[in-house]
Symmetry: C2
Subunit: 117 residues, 2 copies
DNA sequence: TATCTATGCATAGTTAATCTAGGTATTAAT
DNA sequence: ATTAATACCTAGATTAACTATGCATAGATA
């Protein structure tokens, strides 16, 4: 990770659902995709992604199916469900709220008075 | 919190340092200030803020001093140090990187192919 | 004057998201 | 044949923020 990894907390699910909202993918592919799209900023660990996928599937946000590439290796693809799509929309709104709130504080002006010893 | 509290992780320190970069403040004041500036999105708990302040002080990012309001109650003010200011600049850059990377994924286009069963 | 609310600092223990570190197996390249 | 990349998985450790307290002062209100 190029950034403080704690920053990522709370953002992983929206990143995963965003990817799957555009196309079904398998886990390993998502790791590469996220790294590529983020310009190398996010490098998901397998120990991070796979438990998230399993949890999202258990909650009905995504569905999985095995698919082989013309007789070659089997890959476990995930696609987003209607419920997951609804959840994604909520999280997109949440992200906008969060980002805006942080920026307000980073760029904000002083409200209360100034006091020093 | 109006947003998933996990989103906040990794962002607390930059928020605190940003406030102190504009004026010294005491803890309770910072809680109110952050709530006000964020439009009510962030409501820091005391159990969140005070340990952060103590940790930042232990690391030389901020300094504290007690100050009374004309003979009234004593308040513990914090001001940012040079080291803290340097840290803040790094974290501002980190925030930009992070925010931009998330937005790239949320709005990004498909890179690999599309596959379904 | 008694009580309630807001202010103000502090911390021990809990929770939960991510990482570490390991495992297994297939495929492609050297 | 060996190595690197691909591809899945999970138990346990880490750690940041929260919960739930405690204590104390100041101001308002009845």
């Amino acid at each position: 990770m190029k950034v403080n990894k704690e920053l990522l907390k709370g953002s992983t699910v929206i990143l995963v659902l965003s990817l799957l909202d555009r196309a079904p993918m398998y886990g390993y592919q998502m790791i590469k995709e996220i790294e590529k799209k983020s310009g190398g900023v996010f490098k998901f660990k397998e120990g991070t992604l796979y438990p998230i996928l399993h949890s999202l599937e258990a909650n009905g946000m995504i569905e999985s199916y095995w698919l082989g590439n013309e007789g070659s290796r089997q890959r476990k693809y995930y696609r987003i469900t209607d419920k997951g799509n609804h959840c994604l929309k909520e999280k997109q709104q949440e992200w906008e709220t969060f980002r805006s709130a942080v920026d307000k504080i980073l760029t904000g002006r002083l409200i209360y008075g100034y006091k020093t010893e």
